[in-house]
């Protein structure tokens, strides 16, 4: 239709003013993006009509009925928030109260560092947003630095530092033969990296392997990182989910703090408070003194302003209310332990079932590993068979989200794994 009515109601012959290219699309050269390897799994799962289907893909906690969980402490906090509807912009650094409470979780309830105001911290868009802010900050203020990322890691880590234009290197982490930690190689990589490199560390419940260093190993890692003057950046997405005790899960970070490192931490409430969709988290950077912390915080805000201006309030309110109320906090701790215990229970059950089926392989790693994920050791081809033949959905690296395993499906899952792996 070349004739149309414009705003002023006049009949205008569009074709008269058309430029040569106007009919051709600007977006012709845009290719379809590959499906996200993790979130794409859930999409495929949702599309599957099979009644026996099992989703052990994305790391979102499920109860024993396979249902998403809203924590009681969160429900109570929501009720209290519902009355308070003033939705004015948060300051650029986010909710001060939420950030304060969040720092206590990571650095310690009575941390001197918090008292001395040495930590630059801002509310961030969950763990992803915290990592991205840090990556952008790293690029802006240490433009010649690179980030060392463990192999394997959460796939989005690579995307984050890539989009922040920070060059990436990797360090050894997972040892396939033992399904454990390749400690010697990891230490070598730390030693061989140029002084002052940035190292991305999972402080607990490594994603995707579930393989964590022991306390002794953490001390050695800290030592070697200190010797080389590297910058340790912790992505803590599962505090509370590893052992069931948030204090214990922060041990690695506390070791580094004792050793005097100036660290950065990304924290997320997606899993441990079940606030996935609310996008609540925190980025903190430990500085030399209060003055520097103020400056660094202002620069973090400066990076956030052209990305989203200020962070969303709702989830932050929930977190503040829960952590600020001793009874609610106690309830939260209890609920976190329940979630972690259920997962530990499922690990035992899955391993037990596989052994009962007479699997020729060793499944010890299922109970050795910790947190939401189990790195099964299955190959991509075996994973494809699990999906195609048994309607079991997981990422092709063989990562099983134990949170998706229930007493109802653990036998089915064990049998399927046994079927695809029994020939070796």
């Amino acid at each position: 239709m070349a004739i149309s009515r414009g705003l002023s109601g006049r009949m205008i012959d569009r074709s008269a003013v058309v430029g040569a290219r106007y009919m051709s699309s600007w977006w012709r050269s845009v290719q379809p993006a590959p499906k996200d390897p993790i979130l794409g799994v859930t999409e495929a799962f949702m599309a599957d009509p099979n009644p026996d289907k099992v989703n052990v893909g994305v790391g979102a906690y499920r109860d024993d009925n396979g249902k998403p969980v809203v924590l009681e402490c969160v429900r109570e906090a929501e009720r209290r928030v519902a009355g308070n509807l003033n939705m004015e912009y948060l300051p650029m650094g986010g909710s001060v109260k939420m950030v304060e409470e969040t720092l206590k979780l990571a650095y310690g309830e009575n941390s001197e560092l918090i008292k001395d105001r040495r930590i630059a911290a801002v509310q961030a868009l969950s763990g992803t947003g915290a990592c991205r802010l840090f990556a952008d900050f790293q690029k802006r203020f240490c433009p010649n630095s690179q980030i060392y990322i463990p192999v394997p890691t959460w796939s989005n880590h690579h995307n984050i530092w890539r989009d922040a234009h920070v060059p990436q290197k990797t360090y050894h982490y997972y040892h396939p033969e033992s399904r454990g930690l390749d400690f010697a190689a990891m230490i070598d990589d730390i030693k061989n990296a140029p002084n002052g490199s940035f190292f991305l560390l999972h402080p607990c419940a490594h994603n995707p392997t579930g393989v964590d260093p022991t306390e002794e190993q953490w001390r050695e890692i800290s030592h070697h990182i200190k010797v080389k003057g590297h910058f340790p950046f912790f992505d803590m997405a599962y505090q509370g989910f590893a052992s069931g005790d948030p204090e214990r899960d922060a041990k690695s970070i506390r070791i580094f703090l004792e050793d005097g490192h100036h660290i950065g931490i990304a924290q997320s409430y997606a899993k441990n408070m079940g606030l996935y969709g609310q996008r609540v988290g925190c980025l903190s950077v430990l500085c030399e003194d209060e003055k520097q912390a103020v400056a660094v915080k202002s620069q973090l805000q400066q990076l956030a302003r052209p990305m989203y201006s200020n962070p969303p309030v709702h989830g932050a309110l929930i977190v503040s209310i829960i952590l600020g109320d001793p009874d609610l906090k106690k309830l939260w701790l209890k609920e976190v332990k329940i979630m972690a215990d259920r997962i530990i229970g499922m690990r035992t059950a899955l391993r037990g079932n596989l052994e009962k089926l007479g699997s020729p392989l060793s499944w010890q790693h299922i109970t050795n590993q910790i947190g939401m994920f189990c790195y099964s050791g299955l190959t991509p081809e075996q994973v494809d068979r699990l999906t195609n033949e048994f309607h079991i959905y997981m990422t092709r690296n063989g990562r099983i989200s134990m949170a998706g395993v229930t007493t109802g499906n653990v036998e089915y899952l064990a049998n399927a794994i046994h079927q695809v792996s029994k020939s070796g």
């Binding site: 414009g6 003013v17 433009p143 520097q292 990305m307």
Partner: protein
Amino acid sequence: MASSVLSLASAGPSASLSSNGIEKGKLNLGNCFKKEKTNLFLKTKSVGRISMVVASDVSRFEGITMAPPDPILGVSEAFKADNHELKLNLGVGAYRTEELQPYVLDVVKKADKLLLEKGENREYLPIEGLAAFNKVTAELLFGADNPVIKQQRVATVQGLSGTGSLRLAAALIERYFPGAKVLISSPTWGNHKNIFNDARVPWSEYRYYDPKTVGLDFEGMIADIKEAPEGSFILLHGCAHNPTGIDPTPEQWETIADVIQEKNHIPFFDIAYQGFASGSLDTDAASVRMFVARGMEVIAAQSYSKNLGLYAERIGAINVVCSSSDDAARVKSQLKRIARPMYSNPPVHGARIVASVVGDAALFKEWNAEMEMMAGRIMNVRQKLFDSLSSKDKSGKDWSFVLRQIGMFSFTGLNKAQCDNMTNKWHVYMTKDGRISLAGLSLAKCEYLADAIIDSYHNVS
């Protein structure tokens, strides 16, 4: 005569310019390099069995300086610190009632209650956001019966309010149109430049505000758009231009569209005030709809911060109107790829509220009424301010621009020194570009404000 200011996207950290052109955030890169040469072995200590050689506590962030306060958000902070009883905050564009209180819309309260009762889970949204929200937001902007929607030619992705949606589009431009420029109005919302700078998209300005008429420099605008290299992105305010409040007339919009088509530019709309300009959601979308009706491919960023008062929930959307549904699907997939390493998926709460309000006929009708009320209050305030200025100012100056301008803001034409006088003498807080937010003005305060403006205009240079 082109007065456009060319500004290159900063490839590195130190080159980004603040809105007044001053280099900010000077860096000391030294510490990042120091590690190579510095002797870090300053002391040893024994910890258990391991004897540790401990590096010194040299911080790599030593050289980091304080970032300048945000020119807009910083105003509210200064206002808070002022104890004067007559103080007036006309800084940030957040709607206030006649009593100068924040306003939570009734429809939002209702929607929030419904959500609480439903007790839905808080699972991750898909990367592109809540499907129900994406559907209603596109319909709200383009009209539910618009062919582009029926033909599935719009790629819609939920974004973090206007800022986040603009940023997604900026990143898309950088990735698929490397070197292409965005033209932004002079002046424009201060954060536009930051967004394109951080996204590494070059930008330049087109003339917009004419200080002589306190109106639109239409000829300058058209000339600058014509002069831009073919295939530039032209950032347009769909309605209620921020900061000036000056919108093109319908005829002028047609001419703007003509020129954009001639030069094969892409129109890129920022719609942060749909409903707030005229009071009618449909009327305020007319400019965007006209471009789309011409068959043009259009980018449009939306925000629900002001019109639904959902400021802190960060809810908005980026829409890309394409020539085919296939193009739209591919574009959407690439927008998702940009969002994933930024925040993975957007926050759910605001999306659910908007989907409830816009998706429910009764709530939507109520919203329309509240929108009219809010926009109506601002129009009344404009009238009262104009009346006060006209009656108090004996100089014969024409203050009618107050009535011609539209939306939350008014560009007073005051210069920086005059604005300082507004603040220092009269305790009226506004941004230094002369912008006042009428959303923060009550009928009761119009006369006081008129006095302040008249004094600043005539007695300060």
